[in-house]
């Protein structure tokens, strides 16, 4: 087997560590790291900052909220140099398309960019997304010129509709937000990855780095991780581990896995054993 001639393997990836030209493009964003890093629920500003240093993401998510009028509005992002990251504000908290659109407008004013993660919750208990609201918000915001990354369920047709509506990326959840339960529906997630042309980013519910790697091995464009890092016992090391796992999974996808065999095949030669009866 002549490895480098294999058409499924980009030439660039053979020579170097992470493929030097394996950047992920979504609208204006160009990401070398395929780990999108959340910034919520961290135990402290310091921990968040150290996690970002360890995981080295290019893109981070943010929420937009009322500033506390007492105390000048200090918050956990205070210590961060946001200019080092591509900012992906979300519309978390919205339960209707209209609310999401309003939050997108506010986020645009704050970030001076038109990247937005559309998130319209349809059920307060599971925080699972509202199909109709997500689709409507995506349509309107795309129309307005936003680069929309749409958080969605693992519904395959809805993912297709979001792509048709102009989403720059579709973000099916692995499991409900904050649960860290891991991938609940491998079949649908893989189907979505296979059917869509736009990047598929796995969002919500991942628990451990191996699951992030697994998504990447299937061909996901990126993963978004927040709770699994923020709530780990050692968030900084966990952030680093997620960073490594995403690189490993992406690399494995590009390298092309061995074919599964349902029959056992020896790894050591079967011939050439010393005579047993001599």
């Amino acid at each position: 087997m002549t490895v480098t001639s294999d058409p499924t393997v980009p030439a660039a990836s053979a020579a170097t560590g992470a493929a030097s030209d394996d950047a992920l493009r979504m609208g204006p964003a160009v990401l070398r790291s395929r780990l999108i890093h959340g910034t919520g629920k961290f135990p402290s500003d310091d921990v968040l900052r150290d996690c970002l240093a360890a995981a080295q993401p290019d893109m981070i998510t943010l929420a937009i909220r009322r500033l506390s009028l007492e105390g000048g509005g200090r918050n956990e992002l205070e210590g961060l140099d946001l200019s080092r990251f591509t900012l992906l504000p979300n519309t978390a908290g919205a339960t209707t398309a209209q609310q999401a659109i309003r939050m997108a407008h506010l986020a645009r004013a704050a970030s001076l960019s038109e990247l937005i993660k559309v998130e319209v919750v349809g059920d307060e208990r599971t925080l699972l997304p509202d199909p109709a609201g997500t689709l409507e918000a995506t349509r309107v915001l795309v129309e307005e010129g936003f680069t929309v990354l749409a958080y969605t369920s693992d519904d395959v047709v809805l993912a297709l509709r979001l792509e048709e509506a102009g989403a720059a990326a579709v973000m099916p959840g692995a499991a409900p937000i904050g649960t860290t339960l891991g991938i609940q529906n491998p079949f649908n997630v893989r189907l979505i990855i296979d059917r869509l042309q736009v990047p598929v980013v796995i969002d919500a519910g991942l628990g451990v780095p191996s699951e992030a790697a697994r998504c990447m091995e299937w061909g996901a464009a990126a993963v978004l991780v927040n709770t699994a890092i923020a709530r780990a016992r050692n968030p900084v090391e966990m952030a680093r581990a997620f960073g490594e796992a995403v690189v490993a999974g992406r690399r494995a996808f590009l390298a092309g896995r061995a074919d599964i065999s349902f029959e056992a095949v020896a790894s050591s030669p079967t011939a050439g054993l010393p005579t047993s009866s001599s």
């Binding site: 959340g38 910034t39 929420a63 937009i64 509005g73 918050n75 978390a92 004013a109 937000i177 978004l224």
Partner: protein, 68 residues
């Protein structure tokens, strides 16, 4: 004379004729870090100094916070 406005859902009494920029300053908020929605209309930062607040106005002063 003072007027009654709503900032981030809370009633406040402020000086008549105050601008958004002045309101932020009085609250010790750096204008560079926030987004202001004035009666549901988003203000550009450059307009904070010109935007005069009237009696009954509603303001939302928002910023980025950690989120997923």
């Amino acid at each position: 004379m003072s007027i009654a406005i709503t900032v981030n859902g809370e009633r406040r009494d402020v000086e008549e004729g105050i601008t958004v920029a002045a309101l932020l300053a009085s609250l010790d908020i750096r204008a560079s870090r926030v987004v202001v929605e004035h009666n549901m209309r988003i203000l550009r930062a450059g307009d904070f100094g010109d935007a005069r607040i009237e009696d009954g106005d509603e303001l939302e002063v928002l910023q980025f916070v950690g989120g997923g």
